[in-house]
Amino acid sequence: MLPSFNYYQPASLQEALTLLASLPRPKKLLAGGTDLVPALRRGELYPANVVSISGLSEMKEIKMERGLILIGALAAFSDLVCPPCFEGAHRLVAEAAGQIGGPQIRNQGTIGGNIVNASPAGDMLPPLVALGARVRLCREAGERAVFLSDFLGDAGGACIAPEEILVEVSFPALPVNAAGSFVKLGRRNSLAISRISAATVIIYDSYGRIEEARLALGSVGPKPVRVPSAEALLKGQKPAPDLLEEVVASVGEAVGVLLGSRSSASYKKAAVRGVARQVLQKADPRFMNSGEING
């Protein structure tokens, strides 16, 4: 048995927004429930009102429009694993979604929930940050769109009002000559919290050189961090094993500075090198030594 609360199941987004605007605090929005329900059980939350939006199918759509990929906030992680729009360079979205929790969690949990919970280890965040995603938020009175990297607070958490609903996340589709990947390091291979995660997006010029590289790391701070020093090293270069060594070293240094004297620092600043190596090699095999490709 969980703490007592009133429960509402609005039939449309509009109805949900109206309800949210009128209900007294404390109130909570229920999407998938995979984080909310255990928190209620552990007595960490005592909402008076819970508004469930899980049934709003209008918020589950995944589509491509005018060069944008739009993902409804209620799309379950397992819905993100297969669609063709997450093949190729965009596969980092599918790779991240496919490694969240276990299959049951992926069937229930939503991308919107993952974003709003804004856990430092939230697996969808690094890929979305690397893709330059924006989130669209609605309230009864109107809506706003904001870059995900700004939506996530520097000290953790998400900048969302109790009356707001995150309805959609979107990012510009990558050009044809681009690559992307995601790597997660957990203590075990499923139902594991990321100890470190990394997402990369690489855009090439017509000569196969890196025109732009983005590398976002998870679980090394309150929110995903980009690594400008590593990105700068990659820019204008052709992917090669020697270049990778430089990049990996710079990622290690950057994370060492970020984590400072935290107890996990000595492990993470070393391990992040391996994660950075894997994510770049996975995105572009030219980062591998010839032996590794066959092995």
Binding site: M1, L2, P3, S4, F5, N6, Y7, Q9, L30, G33, T34, V37, P38, L40, R41, R42, A48, V50, S52, S54, G55, S78, G101, G102, P103, Q104, I105, N107, Q108, N189, S190, L191
Partner: protein, 165 residues
Amino acid sequence: MVEMKPFKIISKVNGSTVELGVNPGRRLIDILREDLGLTGTKEGCGEGECGACTVLINGRPVNACLVLAPEMNGKEIITIEGLTPEDELHPIQEAFLEAGAVQCGFCTPGMILTAKALLDKNSDPDEKAVKTAISGNLCRCTGYVKIVAAIRLAAAKLAAREGSI
């Protein structure tokens, strides 16, 4: 303390329509076990970490301990009791017995339902696919070896049955 209003739900559980007024502070697992007497759904951790309470909601495996009771509304739910009629064994159940995949039996109902969802969409899963599908179901007894073997055996049994029709 908030006075909770019961929330009316209509859903299909193991093929039968269920209409109930549920207290929103209860979970699907509580409704199944306490109100509907479907105790084949087990509670191992209460936080989605073990998969013992796996049921199928609209065909997908979900942890019943993470679903608020009112979220059942409008859903089709299958529990282990609904997999086959009372006196029959499903090929997956037969395979679990033949392969020796059952020890203490506490993970078994959830494991079998997860297997059912897998085999419904992939009729010939390889070992990796089986291991991935059951990667949210904890088993402390078997080392998963015979469970993986059982699910692949079940696939073969289902294929043979398909072939004979």
